[in-house]
Point group: C2
Chain length 222, copies 2
């Protein structure tokens, strides 16, 4: 369930990093309520580290737009609103559309093959369980296309930044629903566009796909 979408193996993990991961997970999962205040001293005792590392964690969380800080006042977990969701999905549409375009241009044939393989796995799961697909499966699909764009800054923007907030909305609004098979077909056509190196189409289909997804979620809020 917990797919680890952090940076590659790389270097030493500092205490700050671990704390960041813990707090971020707690926020995304809703263990720390959205809109609630983040007390530095409280978190400090809770996670058994000094205020300095809590401070650093909060700073980094601000980067992902998961918390908001005011000078001399403190940090609050971002609150989930319909408007915020729409804003977020407009950004996703824009950025992931570009990612799909670049993926069509830059993905290797091996990567495309793996993508097809992933789709088949999903097709199986849809037939059997039906429900598992949405959460991990959809994230995984989008994640691979993002990586396929080969634009490091864009990848960082999406993976380190926006995606955590996307997951937060998903988890806390309890996504799932009847879009399962529909989304699957959309995924399939996106991959086909990438196979054909049709940048224009890949971008357009990805944008449509995300728009549909947005509407689906927005309906649940209304």
């Amino acid at each position: 369930m917990t797919l680890n979408y952090t940076k590659p193996i790389e270097q030493a993990i500092t205490s700050s990093d671990k704390t960041l991961l813990s707090i971020r997970y707690a926020i995304v999962e809703g263990d720390i309520a959205s809109g609630s205040k983040l007390s530095e001293t409280e978190l400090s005792t809770k996670y058994g580290v000094s205020r300095a590392v809590i401070r650093e964690s909060i700073n980094r969380l601000e980067t992902c737009h998961l918390v908001e800080r005011k000078a001399n006042v403190g940090a609050r977990v971002v609150s989930l609103t319909p408007d915020g969701l729409i804003e977020l999905y407009q950004i996703r549409e824009s950025l992931e559309g570009m990612a799909a375009r670049l993926a069509a241009k830059n993905m290797t044939s091996e990567e495309i093959a793996e993508l097809n393989q992933l789709l088949e796995t999903h097709a199986e799961k849809v037939k059997q369980e039906g429900s598992y697909y949405q959460e991990a499966g959809d994230v995984d699909f989008h994640y691979r296309i993002i990586l396929g764009c080969k634009n490091k800054q864009l990848i960082s923007l999406l993976v380190d930044g926006i995606y955590h907030l996307v997951r937060m909305y998903r988890v806390q609004l309890g996504m799932s629903g009847p879009r399962i098979t529909t989304a699957f077909d959309e995924h399939k056509s996106i991959v086909r566009a990438i196979e054909n190196k049709d940048e224009e189409l890949a971008e357009m289909l990805m944008r449509r796909h995300i728009t549909y997804s947005k509407n689906n979620i927005a309906n649940k809020l209304a």
Copy 2:
């Protein structure tokens, strides 16, 4: 020259904030060379503050992709490369394209009037001086459209994040050149699309505009 594109008047300015602004300015202007190492102790003495505030500043600079940090090793100013420039402009194209689309949808008639006024001012300047336009003028134009999109997260992403890096490339590669009047015409047609509330066209024209700009710069590197 120094247009202050920081957040609205708002709240108290802490020592960390001031230091952040100073260091960021130094990096964008090239006073701190791109690719060079950022020593915490050194900066600490240079700016007359403790290492804690330097640390916080560096953290925030990482958000704008202006510096890169490695655990237990330190931070370096990002190095300017042709690949990096292309990556950056792909993101700009995507995000500012969306901003233009949303601006066509959401800008008030007063804002559009101001935008037209700005264009006239630029037209005058182009006739007279010719050269001043590019730097401040172009930035100002794009800035207004970004604000006009009314998507707070998108605005933050562009203004607090990406735009500093854009300016850094501009300054240090010595932009200017013969695109002045061409860019002006492009600006004009973008505004016209926004006036007509033609979202599709506004986005497309903005994307083209940025692509041209990218090619212009890329040629200078090649």
